[in-house]
Symmetry: C2
Subunit: 347 residues, 2 copies
Amino acid sequence: MTAATARLEPAVVSLPQPYLLFVGDITEPGYAKTAFGLRDWAGERCVGELACSDEAVTTGLPRMTPEEARRRGARALVIGVANPGGVISPAWIPSLVAALEAGLDLIGGMHAKLEDIRELKAVADRLGRRLIDVRKPPPGVPVATGRKRTGKRLLTVGTDCALGKKYTALAIARAFGERGLAADFRATGQTGIMIAGAGMPMDAVVSDFEAGAAELLSPDAAPDHWDVIEGQGSLFHPAYSAVSLGLLHGSQPDVIVLCHEPGRAHLLGFPNYPTPGLTEAIETHLMMGRLTNPAIRCAGLSFNTSAMTAEEAEDVMSRASRLLNLPVADPMRGGAAFDRLVEACLA
Amino acid sequence: MTAATARLEPAVVSLPQPYLLFVGDITEPGYAKTAFGLRDWAGERCVGELACSDEAVTTGLPRMTPEEARRRGARALVIGVANPGGVISPAWIPSLVAALEAGLDLIGGMHAKLEDIRELKAVADRLGRRLIDVRKPPPGVPVATGRKRTGKRLLTVGTDCALGKKYTALAIARAFGERGLAADFRATGQTGIMIAGAGMPMDAVVSDFEAGAAELLSPDAAPDHWDVIEGQGSLFHPAYSAVSLGLLHGSQPDVIVLCHEPGRAHLLGFPNYPTPGLTEAIETHLMMGRLTNPAIRCAGLSFNTSAMTAEEAEDVMSRASRLLNLPVADPMRGGAAFDRLVEACLA
């Protein structure tokens, strides 16, 4: 092992930027969520988009060839779309090869691994390009120490999966930045890692090292620096609770924000598991979180009200806020409610 | 994929038996715990022991050559000793090669992998023998379903690591068997897996699949059948809580037995983490466990009193029993207290 790799291991996943976004031949916007997320949250680090069909969805960024993107500073092509099943379509291969030949690395987070595609592997090896799988944890993740770290930490937690923990963390980190605070969004899932350009794919870490991976993701920092950490899964999820607890303990958050979708009666795909009550969810997170940070507190709640009218959303959020005596906001809707939530995080 | 492998994946780790126990050249009994554990708990499936030094510790089983062991039915040589650092000593290699040549597979659970030792790999490949690492999870472990399974389950849990969760589960499974009940010890760590001949190395499973691995380990069974599951880590451990929660949720135990070492003021190796109180530990496990089994209950406590006199042990256990109104026993000491604990598990 050279000195350089000794220094790099252990480290988080780290990505070459800026990006060229690949939207392939995908026509259904729902399958291009990663590309849209990158446009919305890392737009200043995306030079353009590449399609392999005129019918493909667009992020609104300029379409360009890999050569042009390279000239404009791009260092990697990000596969920002998914097929059902997570495969890499044969129709995409010529575009991916062209990107490698233009000098770009490839970044993917699909179930199928880029390096398992022989043609891509051969071209990348020949040209010295990297095929980066953001779902692959870095080598050398240590066992957690439980040592209290300097700096401040916020973790978004949830009553279920897929209800806005990433979005909430991004919005809060941005709001902290707008208030002039030093804040980093710390990514724990594949889209978040692509947005941040670095992070830790927490659900792919071996369980013995889960809390250690979370410790690595938010190292010692200046006393007034905030790490705003993307939550994963839920303590109330029969499949993913291990991920959530390791992340909670390793993150040792000072502040949690509970994310929830009003009206979701049971966990997604688990009809026998009712969504937990909000008070129960808050209390359980605080009780478990006190192990590594006795001062943990819940600053408020983030509601995903995307299925509601503005009036319905306002009504459900203000009722919950009165009931729990905590700020409740939908970061997508922003406004005064979200400001109150952000202020409560900093209080 | 052939039909056979389709049937085998997903499956738990499964080991060839009976064993020949390898004690190497280890003179310090503390480094031969696995061998002693196998003698005590799987003695009827150990045909003898093999040493590569006359000074090596002995399990009391007859010393024999690999050829003789093979003639007596042995199918694998188990490395039942550890070096500091978990390496495989060069002095062991001739014995390990001789075992392969005699027709035995090799089973190891050390940090160093058998298959990374070129000489062993070459001989095993040439002869068609297996180099089995019990710390390696089987392929194809699924995401948990949370579905309630048939049969009864008991999980040993703990206030910390390394205080008797495996021993307690083994003793309870044996006691259930002695009462004529159908019961299986379900192993979750390397020594347990060697004892049982099968199991799931829970701490080596990727965290997204942790609860799924636990579901796989204790499948549907007859209504009056008991799986007695070896616990791992602790919900109160800053490094290993993810393992413990995934195991708790995937095991969906009807009964937990809390394992504890009286007098242990803080977690082993974590001086800033006080050992949790017993009532707090019981309540937290029940609260978290209710997610996948609302009927979960704590039948009693298992105390590791190995550092105490019989009188001290009796005193500390009877005081805790009165305080908590639950049976408290040390399975190593057995007796009426342990009988009461076993009966409470079945109540």
